[in-house]
């Protein structure tokens, strides 16, 4: 992932996250505000309901007292009126329910159920209610079922009869509460009737768990009901028990429609999504523009660094600004300039060192034969007067010729190194090269007096045919084998291994000698560097030159006391080289 992409992601996520956080915070605060308002409104509704109930209780008591004192009810109590006279009296007293009963509760006349005359009144209320002066809640049987009502009982004609009257707890009671918009009051009345300001509530069974909760705990409870599949039909309820004499007479449910709240939350969410999406788009565009400005010089720096890493120390980065990036570009350019200067200095130093080394070697190499030449010539001068001159002369000339031959050999070596020819590529089999070199050195392996070097070949069975110059390869491999033999003066194991490697063939030559130090490993391929007393330091340099001319790689691995391994990786083909087949050659 690029730096620009990362910056884009970060800027986009930052914008989206900020919007999400703000949206969530607004939603939560909105919900809390709604909850607070709802609670206040519900509590106000409860207070209003209690006040209304109290006011109606007073009104019911007053009207029942008026009814008890009316001539009509007196006539009913005296048995001087028709059985349904209570209906007229109920209308006069503006009561929904009116029963005139004997002291034993036998109905004389019933306004709401005239046909029940002569029956025992079986209202589901406590017997004490009939003699209390308070208004009470009772479930009144009617032909259509039963209904909850606020009731009061008063004596008639000095207690010869009782008149019980009341008003139905109807939807009108709830309607009179004047609840705030979005709210409504529901009333659950035993055994299972639920009414609101409009009448019976449909799907009231959905409130059953909440009401059951209130009934079981006799304390307020909260809950919500989703009336339809649409979430906006959800309604939050606060259920409050209405108790009388310790028993539950009903449950008031203050409901608040959640449609407004949900609508607002949805609106906030929608706005948040829109703002977030817009923010992301804008963030991406701004981020793109910003990162473009930020990353362009960085990318140029990276390109410059890649060029430097690739060896192009002339690479430069354009300085476009005076900020940190600009300073970085300037520093980069200074760094590459310094690197270039250092490399030039290093090359010069290397050349000087090489010439010095060459001079030292030449001096060293030429000094050894020159000393015998000087001695031989001095011996000849001294022997000129002696009788043994002829014998000395022969020996001296032989020595001079031998030493001159040595000088010629030394000069030839240097000449060979200087005149390394260009490789002539043809298809060769590495395994065959290996076998040939090992065969050439077979005599030397056996000629080491007493010291046994055990050769071991591990050649791959795969095709090891590559394009290479066989003579140069033999020479390079021969140098490595000789080095390995020199490293094992006390004998050991010489292992030559070939293997198929990524894109070519790998060749490994290992000895079991004393090994090299790390410094020696680093300098091993430097021309004229040698660890041997009589080495020229050109063997491995030639090997490296051959490998390099074949576009291969050579490396050395060594550990003190565990021998040294040279690894050469050679490619299958030489793309831009002329392949010389055996026939054409």
């Amino acid at each position: 992932m690029t730096f620009r992409t990362k910056l884009l992601f970060i800027s986009s996520f930052t914008v989206a996250g900020a919007v999400a956080l703000v949206t969530g915070a607004v939603s939560i605060s909105t919900r809390r505000a709604f909850d607070t308002i709802d609670r206040e409104r519900r509590e106000a509704l409860l207070t209003q309901f209690r006040d209304e109930l109290a006011a109606r209780s007073v009104e019911v008591a007053r009207r029942v007292e008026l009814a008890a004192a009316s001539p009509g009810v007196q006539q009913i109590a005296a048995g001087a009126a028709e059985y349904d006279r209570a209906q007229t009296e109920a209308v006069t007293a503006d009561l929904d329910f009116l029963d005139v009963v004997e002291p034993n509760l036998t109905i004389i006349s019933s306004a709401h159920w005239p046909a029940r005359f002569g029956y025992q009144n079986d209202w589901q209320i406590a017997p004490d209610d009939w003699h209390t002066s308070d208004v009470f809640l009772a479930r009144i049987p009617t032909p259509e079922g039963s209904a909850m009502a606020l009731m009061a009982v008063r004596p008639v004609a000095g207690g010869k009869a009782l008149v019980a009257g009341g008003r139905r707890l109807s939807p009108e009671l709830l309607k009179s509460l004047g609840v705030a918009p979005g709210m409504r009051a529901l009333l659950w009345l035993p055994p299972g009737e639920v009414i609101d300001a409009e009448g019976s509530v449909r799907d009231a069974q959905k409130l059953a768990p909440l009401i059951q909760d209130v009934r079981s705990t006799n304390a307020e409870a909260t809950g919500s009901v989703q009336w339809t599949s649409d979430r906006r039909s959800s309604e939050a309820f606060l259920a409050l028990p209405i108790t009388r004499a310790g028993t539950l007479a009903g449950v008031l449910l203050a409901g608040t429609s959640l449609s407004t709240q949900l609508g607002l939350e949805r609106s906030i969410l929608r706005t948040g999504v829109v703002v977030g999406a817009s923010g992301i788009v804008i963030g991406v565009l701004l981020g793109w523009w910003t990162t473009e400005r930020i990353t362009r010089p960085v990318e140029r720096l990276a390109a410059g660094a890649r060029a430097v890493a690739g060896g192009d120390l002339s690479a430069r980065v354009e300085v476009l600004s005076r900020d940190e990036i600009g300073e970085l570009a300037q520093a980069f350019n200074r760094m590459t300039e310094q690197l270039l200067e250092q490399r030039e200095r290093a090359i010069q130093a290397e050349r000087v060192a090489a010439w010095r080394e060459l001079a030292r070697r030449l001096a060293h190499e030429l000094k050894n034969p020159l000393f015998p030449l000087q001695i031989t010539i001095e011996n000849l001068q001294r022997a000129r007067e002696s009788s043994e001159f002829d014998e000395v002369f022969r020996e001296s000339t032989a020595t001079l010729l031998a030493e001159l031959g040595n000088l010629k050999t030394i000069i030839g070596r240097f000449s060979d190194f200087a005149k390394m020819p260009a490789p002539q590529f043809e298809t060769v089999d590495i395994n065959e090269i290996v076998r040939g070199v090992m065969k050439l050195n077979d005599a030397r392996l056996k000629a080491e007096g007493g010291a046994t070097v055990q050769p071991r070949l591990e050649l791959t069975s795969g095709s090891t045919q590559i394009q290479a110059d066989p003579d140069q390869l033999r020479r390079a491999l021969g140098n490595l084998v000789l080095n390995a033999l020199d490293a094992m003066p006390d004998g050991g194991t010489l292992l030559v291994r070939t293997a198929l490697h990524d894109g070519g063939v790998r060749l490994e030559i290992s000895d079991s000698g004393q090994g090299l130090t790390e410094e020696e490993c680093q300098r091993l391929f430097t021309p004229y560097y040698t660890t041997k007393q009589h080495g020229t330091g050109l063997g491995l340099a030639i090997v490296q030159s051959v490998v390099s001319d074949h576009r291969g790689k050579i490396s050395v691995a060594s550990a003190s006391g565990r021998g040294t391994t040279f690894t050469i990786d050679l490619p299958w083909t030489q793309a831009d080289s002329l392949v010389v087949t055996g026939e054409s050659a």
Binding site: Y83, D84, W113, P114, A115, R116, F117, G118, Y119, P143
Partner: protein, 425 residues
């Protein structure tokens, strides 16, 4: 004399409740229009048409004799008396009866009613008592089809205006063979509720309106003239087909406290009964049990029952009785609920349309849609068979009451009713 005697036979079921002293103190006078209102909506006075509606049938049977008459009539004791036929005898082979037609009887168009040969032959070899009973029935009234297709009768009034189910005007038949009636005309408004009738009566719009049995007392205490007749109506529960098992029907009958209903709801007007026909008509109604037995009713029910219950909620007599029956039934474990669709049991008012048990049962069988009684069977057996076959549960016999203007005299014999112009309203 003869005319007076015949009238008394035709109206044998009526009992006059007017003050006889005042009646005797004034001499009847001719003229005036009697305006009457009633609940029933009668579609036709054609004797061949038997209305399905019990109230319409009762009204039709009450008004039809004013227009159409029968060959014979029955007196207070149910004995056949000559009417349009003055005498009867059988032929030589005793296979047919020959009724001698009354002479000088004029139809409502002024023409003479003259059967061919001055007599009517009835080919029937049954005993003459059965034949005479049938001929006294309303369905056997004499009608003559006029050229315009209308029916002509011989009764004391002719139909001057007829709006089926709504209103009618009957005009005095000047050439009536029994003598012209006192009234010039009778105007009848049909389909009027009891409340509307009472309202119209209060403002003097009409002279005679119906009054519910339970309300008979109060107007009388206020000085209003009330005419009540012997129970001419049976309140009964009628079951629909055989859907309701017999034990449930019996349990429902046993659960009803007839006495309480009679004493409180009906203000003791009428009588409780388990029979279709009232005691004054048969004398054996006590043989049909009507006592409440709640324990037995509960025993008859293996499980609580629920029946759909139908009744006329606008009927001020029927409605409270129905509501009380529902309360009584619930004690026995039967829930009577009002509902749409098929009605299991219905509370109805059945009219007693004749002073003869057999004739009255004949109309009841028509209303209850069962086979008519056999003329050969005695009335008790016929009535018991009718109750068993129809599954009807008789509950009460109610009197029919009228609230009359103080000007109305000789009610309810319309052919002798006259209006006292000098009487205070």
């Amino acid at each position: 004399m003869r005319r007076t005697a015949l009238r008394s036979i035709a109206a044998a079921n009526a009992v006059l409740a007017l003050a006889a002293g005042l009646e005797a103190a004034r001499r009847p006078r001719y003229g005036g229009e009697l305006r009457v209102e009633m609940r029933a909506a009668v579609a036709s006075l054609d004797p061949a048409v038997v209305p399905d509606d019990p109230a319409a049938l009762g009204a039709q049977r009450q008004w039809m004799p004013l227009v159409f008459e029968t060959l014979v009539s029955l007196d207070n004791h149910g004995r056949p008396q000559p009417w349009l036929a003055t005498s009867w005898t059988h032929d030589a082979a005793r296979k047919a009866w020959i009724f001698q037609a009354r002479k000088n009887v004029k139809l409502h168009d002024g023409s003479i009613w003259s059967p061919p040969g001055g007599s009517i032959m009835v080919p029937d070899d049954r005993p003459i008592e059965q034949i005479l009973r049938e001929l006294a029935g309303a369905r056997s009234a004499v009608t003559v089809k006029a050229e315009d297709g209308s029916l002509l009768g011989t009764g004391p009034f002719r139909i001057a205006r007829w709006e089926a189910g709504k209103a009618a005007t009957l005009v005095a038949h000047d050439q009536y063979w029994g003598g012209r009636p006192f009234l010039d005309s009778i105007s009848v408004q049909m389909g009027r509720s009891l409340a509307d009738q009472a309202s119209d009566f209060q403002i003097g719009k009409v002279e005679a309106v119906e009054i519910a049995a339970r309300d008979l007392r109060a107007p009388k205490q206020r000085g209003t003239t009330i005419a009540s007749m012997q129970p001419l109506e049976t309140v009964a529960l009628q079951f629909d087909g055989g859907r309701v098992p017999a034990p449930v029907r019996q349990a429902l009958s046993l659960s009803i406290d007839r006495t309480a209903i009679l004493n409180v709801l009906l203000q003791k007007q009428g009588e409780t009964s388990g029979a279709l026909l009232p005691r004054w008509l048969t004398g054996y109604s006590f043989l049909f049990p009507s006592e409440r037995d709640l324990a037995k009713a509960k025993q008859l029910l293996p499980a609580p029952q629920s029946l759909t219950f139908g009744y006329d909620r606008q009927d001020p007599v029927i409605r409270p009785i129905a509501e009380r029956i529902a309360v009584n039934a619930s004690e026995a474990g039967i829930t009577l609920r009002q509902g749409a669709g098929a009605i299991d049991v219905r509370l109805v008012r059945l009219p007693i349309t004749a002073t003869d048990a057999w004739l009255a049962l004949q109309d009841l069988t028509a209303l209850l849609k069962v086979a008519p009684p056999s003329p050969a069977a005695n009335s008790y057996e016929s009535e018991k068979a009718l109750i068993d076959s129809s599954g009807v549960i008789p509950l009460f016999h109610l009197p029919r009451g009228w609230m009359l203007s103080s000007r109305v005299r000789n009610w309810p014999r319309f052919d002798e009713v006259w209006l006292d112009v000098g009487a205070a309203q």
